[in-house]
Amino acid sequence: MPTAAIELKNITKTFGSVVANKDVCLTVNRGEILSILGENGSGKTTLMNMISGIYFPDEGQIFINGEEATIASPKDAFDYKIGMIHQHFKLVDVFTAAENIVLGINDGKYNLKRSTGEIRKICEKYGFELDLSKKVYTMSVSEKQTVEIVKVLYRGADILILDEPTAVLTPQETQKLFAVLRRMRDTGKAIIIITHKLHEVLSLSDRVAVLRKGEYVGTVETATTNESELTEMMVGHKVALNIERAEPVDPKPRLEVHHINCSNREGVKMLDDVSFTANAGEILGIAGIAGSGQRELLEAIAGLQKVDSGAVLYSNPKTGKMDNLTTKTPLQIRELGVRLSFVPEDRLGMGLVGNMDIVDNMMLRSYRKGKSMFLERKGPKDLAEHIIEELEVVTPSAATPVRRLSGGNVQKVLVGREIAASPTVLMAAYPVRGLDINSSYTIYNLLNEQKACGVAVIFVGEDLDVLLELCDRIMVIGSGRITGVVDGRTATKEQIGLLMTKTDGGEPNA
């Protein structure tokens, strides 16, 4: 019988009338990797926040090494040797890796040289590759994550919690991370990893605990389970994990991007000589490590990002002429009769206004209509009600501020509005990020419907499995350059992974 590093008994946490966790029981042993699997909103992060001292449970007990513990603050968690690696890194950009790692430890003896030696020992022990004198702002996402992990280890953590650690990594980096985690497990650490990616759960963890709508469904041995069983536990019923992919009907060029370059405010080049064509009736996927220029590319097309050089051309199906969209504002693009819909990555910060209700958010696209100086709310109200019914948006009413809706429902409102404009080009950036399985499939279906209607769909995604199942062609972007375009029906994950990290024209390092 292995010793339980941490044991939760009947943990309950409510926020108002929302039950985030109900009677959750969980055990993590030393020398074990436990995955916590659950859809968004199933209470995974709330549960981990209670272990790391950010929230305090309403009911229930936490035992650490067999003794009941009170974790009322992150410092308490730290004293119990619990370390959490958050999804959003908390590092000081202008400090080096070593400085960040020793930051916050006040034992009265600041000695960076001695500490660096200790840090190096930790790195060697677990096989981290880390340049300790490198400044954080020059690091890649995966290096920053390494710093976070080494930081909690240096502080002496025995119990590590990782919140969606692979969301920002390439397949190759993910493999490296998993190797390190396995080595840490072998030295007797207890590791909890929060994720919703099934294949990672299966390849990494020893046991899987599943949460559904805040309730604890059960724990299974990874060796004795499979994807469909886990999905069923997670969702509550059987789900077909296949995305339909129809053959494109009569694809012809709709949007042509010619050699565009652009740079951000600091003058750093974000897009470097990007050229491609998006066809009507086809889904073009864009793959790449987060922050490789996907955002800038879509915003450049939508008229939100200044282009230094190059051209964006739109083949107008009505007139048959080519319209030049470069240097046009979003309003001018719409006045040209170009029906360009855009589901941006930042839903509540760009696509919608969080504090406004669903009706007023519908109005964003249409409020200008008519000569009157007053608003016409009838049309938007009908549209809001139509979308709520059609896409099964869960909301008390159309007058509810969208920020109160769950992530999936927010996205349905946004995608619904963009599709309601009957676009000829539909761009969607990470449209299923943070959505549960059912909502994700609703979105995939909507994109497929648009494709069938002859819309040129551009889909920026992060889950390569989904990209490979959904898209007709996949374009890979790395450091602002197009590193390749592959056929979605024949390409492999490894092939795309290599293209993602390829930085210059030469052959990538395998």
Partner: protein, 373 residues
């Protein structure tokens, strides 16, 4: 590395704070009302400690200070109360579009003052050359225009050069004050006194024999117009979108620069109008203190009223009531001027503080658990 003895009390903390569901609107208002009542009770206690008087006497004095003695037949104080509430409300309405857009217009003071200065100039310089009706039109238009100019200068710099509007609008206040001081010095009435005591010509008309009625009516209309503008007009919608997120505004093709400039034109223009009402309508003189800090109090009214003109009426009335009532209490019981500030401070603290109880709930340690332990 770190070896620390974990010394723990095996209790959950005495209490913790949790977020509440949305409360029914009437419950929330009941809490707010209770907050005001508790605050007044608190004020009573403090007053008794300070002046040793009878507890209820404080409230009586307060009411008399704000509204006058009941049954005395004198409505002077009541009219004064309405006038002060109206002017405060008017400036609050003026800054509201700006604040809703998240543009920190701290320059209402200067925008109103420069409007007042233009009124004074028109009254003194043009009343001989223009017929009275035309003079009125010119006075109002120049005052409104001056306020608009004072508002739009920081807006242009904000829109095109991203300057800090808070500092810029504050600076414009000082310029307006200095201009007024200079003008009053040069054109003093009576000459040589260094200040403008009273301008005899070019007053706004008096309606129904009540000096303040015109102001009150104008601001009543203004309240309705502003409420409609903010909620039902396309401009109001654009203001709300820009205030919530400039990214969203750009995304749907709103010209953010244009909205900032247009909104500050309106904000400044309304301030200029209030300045005109003050100078040409009631004061018939102008000095650096004509607006008397209302430009700043208005910011508080606007936020406390959650940019809703209806709630802002209540907030303006509350603040004016506290001010004049507490001044009377201080007067009656020989307390100094700080008393009024203390009273206003206490009430505002309670009004703002009660929002915590509307949004959050405090959960105490479970009684059952204590028995176990």
């Amino acid at each position: 590395m770190r070896e620390q003895v974990v010394r723990k009390h095996h209790h959950e903390p005495l209490m913790h704070i949790a977020k509440r569901d949305d409360m029914a609107w009437w419950k929330a208002w009941l809490i707010r009302l209770a907050a005001v009542l508790i605050a007044l009770l608190f004020v009573g206690v403090i007053s008794v400690i300070l002046n040793g008087g009878v507890f209820f006497e404080t409230y009586g004095t307060m009411f008399r200070g704000a509204f006058g003695r009941l049954g005395s037949g004198s409505t002077r104080l009541l009219w004064k109360f309405l006038q002060e509430t109206a002017i405060l409300l008017g400036i609050s309405l003026a800054v509201t579009p700006a604040f809703k857009m998240k543009f920190w217009n701290c320059g209402a003071e200067g925008q109103a003052l420069i409007g007042g200065l233009m009124s004074a100039i028109c009254m003194m310089k043009l009343s001989d050359s223009l017929p009275y009706p035309l003079l009125l039109v010119v006075t109002v238009i120049t005052s409104v225009a001056a306020g608009a100019v004072w508002g739009v200068i920081p807006a242009i710099f904000k829109a095109y050069y991203k300057t800090n509007e808070t500092l810029f609008t504050l600076m414009m206040n000082y310029i307006a004050m200095q201009l007024v001081a200079y003008y009053a010095y040069v054109n003093a009435i009576p000459a040589g006194s260094g200040q403008i005591q009273s301008i005899d010509t070019g007053h706004l008309p008096v309606i129904g024999g009540q000096a303040y009625l015109l102001n009150i009516l104008v601001i009543t209309v203004l309240t309705v117009v502003m409420a409609i503008y903010l909620k039902y007009s396309k401009h109001g919608y654009e203001i709300a979108v820009v205030g919530e997120s400039q990214n969203t505004a750009r995304y749907i093709g709103i010209n953010v620069k244009k909205v900032i400039i247009r909104t500050m034109l309106i904000s400044g223009a309304v301030c200029g109008l209030i300045g005109c009402l003050l100078v040409a309508g009631t004061d018939h003189s102008v000095n650096a203190n004509t607006v008397g800090g209302l430009g700043f109090t208005a910011i508080m009214v606007s936020w406390l009223g959650q940019f809703n003109p209806g709630i802002m009426i209540i907030m303006s009335a509350l603040i004016v009531f506290l001010d004049s009532g507490a001044a009377k209490v201080a007067d009656t019981f020989y307390l100094n001027g700080s008393y009024a500030d203390i009273v206003a401070g206490i009430v505002i603290l309670f009004v703002v503080g009660c929002e915590f109880f509307i949004r959050y709930t405090v959960k105490f340690r479970h009684a059952q658990k204590e028995v176990d332990a």
